[in-house]
Amino acid sequence: MNRERFEQIVAAYGADPRRWPEAERAAAEAFAAENPDAAVLTVGEAGLDRMLDHAAALPDTSALAARILAQTQARAGRAFDTRALVALAACAVFGVIIGYSGGQFAPVSDVDDYYFSAAFEAPLFDGDEG
């Protein structure tokens, strides 16, 4: 840290070390402590810092926050409605396809199919009866 860099830091960031570049803060503070005349450089910038602080108050945003969050909930509600409608539409389309296809796309178990056909294909009576 030399005087030129110290002057640059104070001219850009002001007199408050909290705003000085983190990587140079300790060196700049040490420079100021070792060079009493360096403190003179910070006087004008400290004055400007104090003036700027008159405009530093954060606005009351509680009403705006409520409006923004209400919009978010409405948006989330609309998104849910849209998802529900898409799911219903998909179910309806699937149902129509199944209906028109005569059930050929419907899943049927092979095991059930065997017992079903076996029951109806077996002869009702033994050959030697009557």
Binding site: L48, M51, L64
Partner: protein, 192 residues
């Protein structure tokens, strides 16, 4: 790099209403403050903040922690929205835009004085070129680090320091005649 907003943003992206509320409470006042300093208009600043959060809700499900912190990204969005509005003002040349209507309601003298001081500083800030104003808003008022401020403005740290130094010089000149009143002490004028 640790991003203090990372888990909150992830929860917002997953539709967590409480996380959305926490994110608004954490950042809204600072975003409105930044927009007010850029636009010198309270109503427009609120509109900008609303637009910023609409983009936050849209981007949160896709947000991936990267080189920049979420707060830096929000500041960049807010600044770009402010630049758009300032450009539209110039195109329209609306003489009333950006001028706050004086509040003539009776109020205690201390409060009146504080508002007057704040208005003078805001007016001096409004006279600065946009980039200088943005640099001072980010570093002095938002208290971003030099690296975060440079990232937000998408410039180098050296360029940021140049903007800051020129902006502060211009502010000192603009406020020199009201320094005593603003400082509220006897040595105010001599210190600027």
């Amino acid at each position: 790099m640790i991003d203090p907003d990372e888990s909150l943003v992830r929860s917002v992206g997953a539709g967590d209403g409480r996380a959305a509320e926490a994110l608004v409470r954490r950042h809204l006042p600072r975003i409105v403050g930044l927009a007010r300093r850029m636009l010198n208009d309270a109503n427009e600043a609120e509109d900008v903040a609303q637009e910023v959060f609409l983009r936050v809700w849209r981007e949160a499900p896709r947000w991936k922690p990267g080189a920049a912190k979420f707060e830096t990204w929000m500041h960049r969005v807010a600044l770009n929205l402010c630049y758009d509005r300032l450009r539209r003002r110039r195109e329209k040349s609306d003489p009333d835009a950006g001028i706050n209507v004086a509040d003539n309601r009776p109020m205690p003298s201390d409060e009146w004085l504080a508002r007057q001081r704040s208005a003078k500083v805001h007016a001096a800030l409004a006279e600065l070129p946009e980039r200088q104003r943005a640099a001072i808003a980010l570093v002095h008022f938002q208290e971003l680090t030099n690296i975060a401020a440079a990232e937000t403005l998408e410039i180098s740290v050296e360029a940021l320091e140049s903007l800051l130094a020129r902006g502060r010089r211009a502010l000192k000149a603009a406020l020199s005649d009201v320094a005593h009143d603003l400082m509220g002490d006897a040595d105010g004028a001599s210190q600027v």
